[in-house]
């Protein structure tokens, strides 16, 4: 076991906490506004959303999942574009991002920009398609000889940017460094199922798992780093990364620009673009202004809803929208004495006019959400009833719960007023509007509602501490139902901030993650979601969209629910 390079970093962090931030973090920040402070480089979930489906590799056992062939074409080619045939060579693509990458070391990055750089400069064993299916990347094919063993066969002749060859020992080194607890990789938790990694020969890597793990293949997109370069550069690898990806990082002016140039020796063929320049423009509207004035060619979420509708109706720029693997929701702290009562939570659920909120605040972007699993996911239960907007029903439920309206309209029980504080983080103006709407609705039925916003780090810490009552936040990168439910709704779940407790749901979720039969798993998830919705620890508000806006010169971009830049490999700029 090699010890990973760490360099002189302050402080050491537990990976569990990183896991929390990871899955939750950038979701909240994704619809971030940055008219104010620059959007925090919030930790985000991992890049590649794996399909929870059991593997579909050639030699695998028969499964019920559709067979995704181990293709040798990069994922972007999943969408046929005639542009690919006549794509023009050359050019500089100028992209605007909301935050700077925290590091360019793909094993350590925690924020969305770091993930985008990873997608440009590195490859994993597999890559994940926009429809969440894994396709071959560095691994040409793979076998699954038994439940606990996976064998990956690397492509021949793949070279790192510094000219050295990719070998199986680089893969082994990468995974072992991530698994090394002292390295503090935020991705460690995803690979805990791995018992050992061996480089069985120069081009073959064998993984042995501790127990059968259904979604394993979809986690195999971890970016592979070169052992020699990492050991030579140490901590500097984070500023001078070396990978196998279609673009090479040339220059990183922190906080401002990242310059990349085409990798002539990329295994999938030299990308069409000559260079990519990533500029950090924290203000959402400022980025769009940059796009509209021609200073940028490409911007993506987070963007203000009004900018989207204006640009779309303007017709001069391309706007690609797709349902994202995330949602905005209201987290109710069931440990709070007022909110411990299910009837109160259900009453609150009736006070959220989701459609109106989406139509007004979000300008029609996104769909009303009714559960933790997003509609594009295979496990999405289609027949879950949603709470209709009904202040009358809310009032009735509050009465039933013993909160009676006094003479002045405010609700009282046992001499105590029904007081709630609705909170969110200050970087996101849409959520700030949302809490004001909620405050207004709550007050109309006699709840003494106040609002509070602080910046995300402080807000999130309070949420994790359980120091909140009603918090508006989001989830992102929920690429499989396990990621969308396990940590949030199991009794000891690490992301169960509201201390939700339901034994049945707990059991259902635990069983579902161990079940290799997708049909059975789907039923279990449906049952779990029904109960979750009924218990209302969350009020689901909006299934988000991921939106990319770009100049008509840009050809071949394939929009991706988790903003993955896989298609940059074949992107081109027309004249």
């Amino acid at each position: 076991m090699q010890s990973a390079q760490r360099g002189s970093r302050l402080p050491r962090r537990p990976s569990r906490r990183d896991l929390l931030r990871m899955a939750l973090g950038a979701s909240a920040v994704l619809l971030v506004d940055a008219c104010g402070p620059a959007a925090p480089a919030a930790p985000a979930a991992t890049s590649a959303p794996p399909a929870a489906a059991p593997t579909t590799a050639p030699a695998a056992k028969p499964t019920t999942a559709p067979a995704a062939a181990a293709t040798t074409v990069p994922a972007a080619a999943a969408q046929p574009t005639q542009a690919a045939a006549q794509a023009q060579r050359g050019g500089l693509l100028r992209v605007g991002l909301d935050v700077d990458a925290d590091t360019l070391d793909p094993r350590l990055t925690k924020n969305t920009s770091g993930f985008r750089m990873k997608e440009l400069a590195f490859n994993g064993l597999v890559a994940i398609n926009p429809d969440f299916t894994p396709v071959s990347d560095l691994a040409e094919k793979w076998d699954n000889p038994d439940e606990r063993t996976w064998v990956f066969h690397l492509r021949n002749g793949v070279k790192f940017h510094d000219g050295s060859d990719l070998t199986a020992s680089d893969v082994k080194f990468t995974y072992e460094s991530v698994l090394d607890q002292s390295f503090n990789s935020p991705f460690r938790a995803f690979y805990l199922s791995v018992d050992k990694v061996e480089a069985t020969d120069k081009n073959t890597v064998t993984f042995t798992l501790k127990a059968p793990f259904a979604p394993f293949l979809s986690y195999m997109d971890l970016a592979i780093v070169p052992q020699a370069a990492v050991q030579k550069l140490g901590a500097d690898f984070g500023t001078k990364p070396v990978g196998t990806g279609p673009f090479k990082a040339e220059r990183w002016a922190t906080g401002d620009t990242i310059e990349l140039s085409a990798n002539e020796a990329f295994y999938g063929g030299r990308p069409n673009l000559d260079r990519v320049r990533v500029k950090v423009v924290p203000d959402n509207s400022g980025r769009v202004v940059g796009l509209e004035s021609g200073d940028l060619d490409f911007v993506q979420s987070p963007v203000s809803p009004q900018d989207v509708s204006r640009v779309q109706s303007g017709g001069k720029l391309k706007v690609d929208r797709t349902p994202a693997a995330g949602y905005t929701y209201i987290n109710l702290n069931t440990a709070d004495p007022i909110l411990a009562d299910k009837k109160v939570r259900q009453a609150l659920s009736h006070l959220v006019n989701k459609q109106q909120i989406i139509d007004t605040i979000y300008k029609g972007i996104g769909k009303p959400a009714n559960g933790p699993i997003v509609p594009t996911m295979w496990a999405y239960p289609a027949d879950i009833p949603s709470y209709p907007y009904s202040p009358d029903r809310a009032k009735a439920l509050l009465d039933e719960a013993g909160w009676k309206a006094g003479a002045d309209g405010s609700r009282v029980k046992d001499g105590q007023k029904l007081s709630l504080t609705v909170r969110t983080h200050s970087e996101d103006p849409d959520r700030k509007q949302l809490i004001q709407v909620l405050q207004s609705e709550f007050q109309k039925v006699g709840i003494d509602a106040t609002t509070n916003t602080v910046e995300f780090p402080a807000f999130f810490q309070d949420v994790q501490d359980g120091k909140y009552q009603v918090g508006v936040i989001g989830w992102l990168n929920l690429s499989d139902p396990d990621r969308a439910t396990f940590r949030q709704f199991t009794i000891d779940g690490t992301a169960n901030y509201g201390k939700y407790k339901n034994e049945q749901v707990d059991k259902l979720l635990k069983d579902a993650r161990a079940t290799l039969d997708q049909g059975k798993a789907k039923t279990m998830y449906a049952d779990a979601v029904k109960q979750i919705v009924d218990d209302a620890p969350y009020i689901f508000v909006q299934y988000q969209e991921y939106i990319a806006m770009y100049s008509p010169k840009v050809q071949g971009y394939v929009v991706n629910p988790v903003a993955n830049w896989l298609s940059f490999r074949t992107l081109s700029l027309s004249a």
Binding site: L10, P11, R13, A38, P40, A253, T254, P457
Partner: protein
Amino acid sequence: MTHYVIQRLLHTVVVLFGVTLLTFALIHLTPGDPVLVMLGQDATPAELERLRHLLELDQPLPVQFGHYLIRLASGQLGDSIFQHQPVTRLLGDRFPATIELTIAAMLVAITVGISTGIISAVAPYSPFDVVAMLIALSGVAMPVFWLGMLGILLFALQLGWLPSFGRGEPLIDAAQAWIKYGDPYDFVDALKHLTLPAITLGAFSTALISRLVRSALLEVLGQDYIRTASAKGLRKLTIVARHGLPNALIPVVTVIGLQVGTLLGGAIIAETIFAWPGIGRLLIQAINQRDYPLVQGIVLLTAVVISLINLSVDLLYGAINPRVRYG
């Protein structure tokens, strides 16, 4: 003169000490436990202890401060918690951009401010004067960021003359490239990027300097010796240039020195609007991430720079105004 210089130097040293103390105290102004804020709730008590020990928060305050000073003396400002780099390196990367912006804004303020001030003083209550003073009045009453946004919308979006954000190549590098390769493109591009931010940042100072020059010059021009010169038949221009201006400019020079502080502060906002990669934006980012070593580093650097500039202005003032030295 030497006595004056020594006095000023001592003064600056004391001020710098106070500045360091205040900056050091910043981290302790946080309500609650700063370590908890930095690491988050999920950190185990062991982790919290470790960071606390690392940041020496478990030591008595004077000891912490002592160590802080020692580290400062050896040029160490600690490591940024979130960017995994030494604070000094981050500052070194980003400060030049702020300097460039500040100097550009200062140049705008000085040239435009002094010239309009002079013209206004020479022709008081003329249409030019009235308009100029109105603009100056507005300049000090308007929120800077509003002005900046409007500028972007007009000049970048609507007219397309200037870029809407960001910085071009460092101006000095671009100038060198021009000289070496004969291609002015980078230099022109850098200037274009610099224009809107510099004007936005310098607007307040321009207005201030303009009004000040006007009032100072007017007062000087009303003095007896000026009227004497006029009676002697000297041309107005000569009077203004050789007798009026130098005396009027003394207070102006000192105010300009003081404006550096205002500009550095305003740079925080200007950099945010224009996505200018300087330490102002770095500060905001550090604050959002609760990256206290970085916040401290930036605050300290800024205050030190300002103190040194004040010292230079004091010494310069002493050099040109003999009354000060012996007073």
